[in-house]
């Protein structure tokens, strides 16, 4: 509908931003803003408490993968002298943290029904490089087209069985969040940044796109929130 003739003084932008909301909608938006802001400030206030816990968690996740979950795969690959051994050992040496600092060939002496190996609990997270390399290699390992997942014959197991591939996949998805958890404060700041409320309209003004182009509907905050 064209309201241009009815209220000629009102610009298109005003129609969208100033006169488009009912008081209820504004109330809800204000509530949402305060909710985001108060949650963010609460989370930031407890950063000092959370940071060691997060690092402990990340360390244990990684150690569990390389020392507990990988041991059977290593044992099998070592016995059959598979090519996958090199990659597996690379992943392992990249991040492993031995108990009491002693390296041992645990996968050689490993037997079924052995208790899970002890891993040290440490408040140390992996470095970004370690994390990145680990993720790349783990992703390559469990990929359906990788050598590790290729069928090794009718009666023998694959180098990486389905449940094992699942564990790797799980680690891959979990570790996606590690960098964000490690830069906790920055992450909270980024996700609670509501500067867009001001910027969208500023850019709208600069570009003078107005409502003549459909595109502006999509970059406009009102439309964005309504979706």
């Amino acid at each position: 509908m064209n309201y241009q003739n009815e209220y000629p003084d009102i610009s298109d932008y005003e129609r969208v931003v100033r006169y488009n909301y009912t008081p209820e909608e504004l109330s809800v938006l204000v509530d949402t803003i305060s909710m985001i802001k108060s949650t963010a400030s609460l989370l930031k206030a407890h950063e000092a408490t959370l940071a060691p816990v997060l690092r402990l968690y990340i360390h244990s996740e990684i150690q569990n993968l390389v020392q507990r979950d990988m041991i059977e795969i290593l044992h099998r690959a070592d016995k059959k002298k598979r090519a996958i051994m090199t990659t597996l050992m690379q992943v392992r040496t990249l991040a492993v943290d031995w108990l009491r600092g002693q390296r041992h060939d645990d996968y050689r002496t490993w037997k079924k029904n052995m208790p899970d190996p002890e891993t040290p609990a440490r408040v140390v997270a992996a470095s970004p490089t370690q994390l990145h390399l680990m993720r790349v290699m783990v992703r390559a390992l469990y990929d359906d087209k990788s050598d590790a997942r290729a069928s090794a014959g009718l009666f023998s197991k694959r180098d990486l069985t389905d449940p094992e591939a699942k564990i790797f996949e799980q680690f891959y998805y979990t570790s996606l969040n590690f960098p964000y958890l490690l830069s906790y404060g920055t992450t909270i700041n980024t996700i609670s940044d509501l500067g867009d409320l001001w910027y969208r309209e500023f850019h709208l003004e600069v570009s003078e796109l107005c409502l003549t182009v459909d595109f502006t509907y999509y970059i406009d905050p009102p439309f964005f929130w309504r979706r």
Binding site: S11, L26, I33, D193, L194, W198
Partner: protein
């Protein structure tokens, strides 16, 4: 777009929100506590202007708007507070019978004698 040199703050969305926070006293849950959070939008905006866009002029723009908005905000709050207390004081000196009649009248759609 606005056919003016300067962008009027009446069109600035954070300001619209703040205005709403102050003016909208009718709702059951008062919004006035959220005023500081609404102001925080400007913090985010300025932070991004300086550290993300690296542009001083944008920051100056924001700073100018915040200065203006803050003045307006103080005015709006004082106005609202004054009006509230004036109403309160005025209704205190009213005759209680008349007050009851008026309060009843406000509930109905039209003012009537009964």
């Amino acid at each position: 777009m606005t056919k003016q040199i300067q962008f009027p703050i009446a069109l600035s969305f954070p300001w619209i929100l703040m205005q709403h926070v102050i003016k909208n006293v009718t709702s059951d849950t008062p919004l006035i506590e959220d005023l500081a959070f609404t102001m925080d939008v400007y913090n985010d905006t300025a932070q991004r202007a300086l550290h993300h866009f690296n542009s001083q002029f944008l920051f100056d723009e924001i700073q100018a708007e915040v200065n203006l908005v803050f003045d307006q905000l103080i005015f709006a709050i004082s106005d609202e507070t004054y009006t509230y207390h004036k109403d309160f004081a005025a209704s205190n000196v009213f005759d209680s019978d008349l007050k009851a009649v008026l309060e009843n009248a406000r509930k109905s759609k039209y003012l009537s004698k009964r």
